[in-house]
């Protein structure tokens, strides 16, 4: 699977901190996009690549913590690393509970930030891969006929052919034919494989 180079998004209202972070992150051969505010970041057309956000807590307008809460609504699923000038414990607990990778108080050790960035990119990469797999599965599932879908769901829930035939008022032979088509169209190697696919499809909602 070919993939674009990861991008680190830096959002900090202080130009000096922004430039410094830009240089530091580039020095480890990562792409950086820096913004002075969340509004600027939202207007930017993000490339199709794994990434993470390095976010200042104290920002003009929408604060970093508010933004973390709003992100789900804006359909942004990037991991966040918070940086703050005056971290207090309740604030960091809130951020971490809401899923932040790390909460760093300025000045922080550069390695701590870079480690958090690597972890964030890794997490985003596996999330993206997982959702890519689901997208492929969904494509396969879409190619099934209505009857085949019914049969697949029955099979995945562990019912024997005889029972499925009775349930759907079909002959057992027809069920077997549908079942073979399902296995082929879904590219499932085994029954266990098909059950896993059904799980993945039911786990991820139909948003993407």
């Amino acid at each position: 699977m070919s993939e674009n180079k990861p991008v680190v998004f830096v959002i900090d209202d202080s130009p000096s901190v922004r430039d410094a972070l830009d240089s530091l992150i580039r020095s480890v051969h990562l792409n950086v996009q820096a913004f002075g505010s969340i509004e600027e970041f939202l207007q930017f057309k993000r490339p199709d690549a794994p990434g993470c956000i390095v976010l200042d807590v104290r920002l003009p307008g929408l604060s970093g913590l508010d933004f973390q809460r709003e992100m789900a609504k804006s359909n942004i699923d990037l991991p966040i690393i918070f940086i703050t000038g005056h971290g207090d414990v309740p604030m960091s607990v809130r951020a971490i509970k809401a899923g932040a990778i790390e909460f760093l108080t300025k000045p922080f050790r550069d390695q701590d930030l870079l480690d958090a960035i690597y972890l964030g990119i890794e997490r985003d990469r596996s999330r993206r891969q997982a959702s890519a797999v689901v997208a492929v599965l969904r494509g396969h599932f879409a190619s099934l006929t209505a009857r085949e879908r019914q049969v697949m769901l029955q099979v995945a829930s562990g019912r024997p052919n005889k029972q499925i035939a009775a349930e759907l008022k079909l002959s057992e032979v027809t069920v077997k034919v549908h079942r073979r088509h399902v296995m082929r169209k879904m590219k499932a190697k085994s029954l266990a494989d098909l059950v896993r696919m059904a799980d993945k499809l039911s786990d991820s909602p139909e948003t993407a």
Partner: protein, 354 residues
């Protein structure tokens, strides 16, 4: 030290004596005089005096007592004068006393509420402005310092690369210098801000300053039921310094003493403020209380900034006091008081020229 000028806080203890004497006088006059003469109306003066030294309940009791005295002397003098006019006079007097008592109590409680609100406001104002100021300065200084640290790290990483990226490293170093200068500029601005009013160098009589400061918080001292004694030596030499700043130090020590005594119920609350000539070289001022006292292992940290033993303290009072005293060429320290409490003392050197 010879306390030549022993000033007791007499006003508070004198008032009840005056009030009782007056009440007794009115009672005698009322009993002797005819019923037509409305002597008891003068009891209102007693009630008004009582307001000065009593709490709400005390004032009400004094009012009731005055009414009782009025009725008693009426019984004793019932023999002479017209009873009809006497009855009217007595009723008017009783009404006057009752009304005065009611108004006095009401005014007093309004005043207490206003005082309470004002002192709370002053405290809140002091804490929030100082807190906000330090937070804002800390943020302003921290920002460029954080940037400098990141730039330094970036610079090292560009240099450590294979091959080293000298151009990027140079740019990072340039930014680092800029950030460090920015931090130092902010500190210079803060210093300029606090130095906007340079300490004045006036010739001052420390005793005058102590008395003026005591006057400022006399009501608070009375309210805390603290007995204050000032032992001011007559031969203290004048010192050179900033009157407002020195007053701030004394005020701070007195407020601390009051609070220390407020936090214990043991024994009488005694505050002694003294001044004395110090080895012919300057003045020593001491504020001695009978409060909760000092933990021996905290003595050296007492004057550090942000160190506090109070539940809602900022830890700035004594730190500021020390910087003021030291700016005047003096020294401030604390010792335990016997049997309870603490003594805070500071010495100020005599001015350069007489």
């Amino acid at each position: 030290m010879q306390p030549q000028n022993l000033r007791a806080m007499t006003r508070a203890s004198l008032l009840p004596v005056v009030a009782i004497t007056l009440a007794a006088g009115i009672f005698v006059a009322d009993t002797i005089a005819d019923l037509e003469i409305a002597v008891p109306a003068f009891y209102t003066v007693v009630v008004l005096l009582a307001v000065r030294f009593c709490k709400k309940r005390g004032v009400i009791l004094v009012g009731i007592g005055c009414c009782a005295l009025t009725l008693l002397s009426d019984l004793l003098t019932a023999a002479s004068g017209s009873t009809g006019i006497g009855f009217i006079n007595t009723t008017i007097s009783l009404l006057a006393i009752a009304t005065t008592t009611y108004l006095a109590v009401k005014i007093e409680s309004e005043k207490a509420a206003a005082y309470e609100a004002r002192s709370q406001l002053a405290h809140v104002g002091r804490v929030t402005t100082l807190g906000e100021l330090t937070a804002s300065i800390a943020h302003e200084v921290n920002q460029p310092l954080a940037a400098a640290v990141i730039n330094g790290n970036a610079c090292m990483r560009w240099l450590a690369a294979e091959p080293p990226n000298l151009d990027e490293a140079r740019q990072a170093a340039v930014r680092l210098v800029k950030d460090a200068n920015r931090a130092s500029e902010i500190i210079a601005q803060v210093r300029a801000l606090t130095k906007s009013s340079p300490p004045k160098k006036d010739w001052l009589q420390i005793n005058d300053i102590i008395l003026a400061t005591v006057t400022l918080i006399e009501s608070e001292i009375l309210q805390n039921q603290v007995s204050l004694r000032t032992e001011l030596a007559d031969d203290v030499p004048p010192v050179q310094g900033d009157r407002v700043q020195l007053q701030q130090v004394i005020l701070n020590l007195i407020l601390n003493a009051l609070e220390a005594m407020h936090r214990t119920s043991a024994g009488p609350r005694e505050l002694i403020i003294s001044s004395a000539k110090n080895d012919a070289k300057g003045v020593r001022i001491a504020v001695q209380d009978s409060g909760i006292g000092l933990a021996p292992d905290n003595l050296d940290r007492l004057f550090s900034a942000f160190y506090t033993t109070k539940p809602d303290g900022m830890g700035m009072g004594l730190a500021i006091s020390r910087s003021i005293v030291e700016a005047h060429g003096g020294r401030i320290w604390a010792t335990p008081n016997a049997p309870r409490g603490a003594v805070f003392q500071f010495i100020l050197p005599m001015g350069m020229e007489p």
